[in-house]
Amino acid sequence: MGYLEEMAKYQKTEKQKSFSADFLDQEQVEEYEFWDEIEIGKETVVPLRFEVKAEDMIAYAEGVPDANPVFYDEEYARKCGYDGLVAHPMFTTQVLFFLLRKGHGSWIRTPGSRNPGQILEWYDPIRVGDVLTLKTRSYDKWIKRGKYYMRYLSELYDQHGNLKMRGYMTLILPKTREDVMRFVRGEHALEA
C-alpha cells in the first residue's frame, strides 16, 4: 500500500476527504509561488472560505494527538468556562493549509521547504459555525548561510470581520521553480 493510501485510512471529515493529499502533483506545484518570484509587500485575501465544523476541530485535536476533553465535549468545555467547544490553538494550521493552495501564500506547501519557527497570536476563540477568511502578506526575504528565507504575515478573520489569529510565519524555501521541480522528482536540491 502506498503512502497516500495509508493516509486515506485516517481521513474522516468532509474537508479531509475532498482535499488533495498529493503535494508532489506537478500540476499543483506549477501554480505555487517560488522564492525568487515573491513580491515583498504584496497582500492577498484568499478567495476560499473555511466554514468551521465541530468535526474539523475534533479531527485536529485527534491528530496532535491531544485527548483533553475541552476539545471534544461541548458540555465539558462550558463547565470549564468556555462558550462552546474549544479549538486546539494550533487548529489554525488546518485552516491555513485548506485555504492556501496556489499563488501568493502557497509557500507552505512547497516540497523542500523547511520550518524554522513561528509566532502566533490569538485574539478571539475560533468557534463552530465561524466562516474564516485569510489575508496574507509577504514582508521579507533574505539569504543567510546559503539558505533562502522568507517571512509573511497571516491573519484570519471571521464572518464579522473579527481578527481571530495573526501569525508571523518564517520559511526556508528552495530558491527557484527548477529547484522545487528537482525536489518533486525526488532529487536533493538544496544549495545549503
Binding site: F19, A59, E62, G63, P65, N68, Q94, N115, G117
Partner: protein
C-alpha cells in the same frame, strides 16, 4: 476540573506536567491528515530516501506538530481552568526523524497582573528528543482566570 488554576495560584518557577510522545510514521500520517499538511518530507518515506531535505533519508515530524505538542503542555495544564493561550513563539532547532521519542514541558517564568480577565503568565517551553537534545524552544503567553 479539580485544582482549578487561577492567576493568583500560579507562581514563577511552577513546572508544568510533561508530555511524552513517540513519533511513529503512523503518528506523523495522522497529523498530516489532521493538519492537511501532506508535504512529502513528512509523509513519503520513499521520497525522503533520496530528497533528504534535512540531510536525513527518513521522514521527519511536522514542525507544527512539535508546536502543537508544546501547546498541549499549556492546554493540558490550564484549559480545564478556563485559560486562554494568547501568544506562542517557537524556534525549531533540530529535525525530529520518525522513530524519535520526544518530551515536552514548560516552566512559568513571568506573571503579568495587567487587569482582571487579561492577567497572563509567560511559560518557557521546551521539546527534547530521547537523547536529551533540545529540538525546539519557545514561550507562551497564557491568560488565566482570577480567583
Amino acid at each position: 476540573m479539580t485544582g482549578k488554576l487561577t492567576f493568583e495560584s500560579v507562581n514563577c518557577g511552577d513546572v508544568l506536567p510533561e508530555i511524552k510522545q513517540h513519533i511513529s510514521q503512523e503518528v506523523i500520517w495522522k497529523h498530516a491528515v489532521a493538519s492537511l499538511d501532506y508535504n512529502p518530507v513528512h509523509t513519503n518515506p520513499e521520497w525522503c530516501a533520496t530528497a533528504q531535505v534535512f540531510g536525513l533519508p527518513v521522514p521527519v515530524m511536522h514542525g507544527n506538530q512539535t508546536m502543537s505538542l508544546m501547546t498541549s503542555v499549556i492546554t493540558d495544564w490550564a484549559y480545564s481552568s478556563g485559560a486562554r493561550l494568547k501568544r506562542l513563539e517557537v524556534k525549531l532547532i533540530k529535525p525530529v526523524p520518525v522513530g524519535s521519542t520526544c518530551t515536552y514541558g514548560g516552566v512559568v517564568s513571568e506573571k503579568h497582573p495587567v487587569g482582571k480577565g487579561e492577567d497572563f503568565v509567560v511559560v518557557e517551553l521546551w521539546a527534547k528528543n530521547q537523547d536529551g537534545e533540545q529540538v525546539a524552544v519557545g514561550s507562551a503567553q497564557v491568560v488565566l482566570p482570577s480567583a
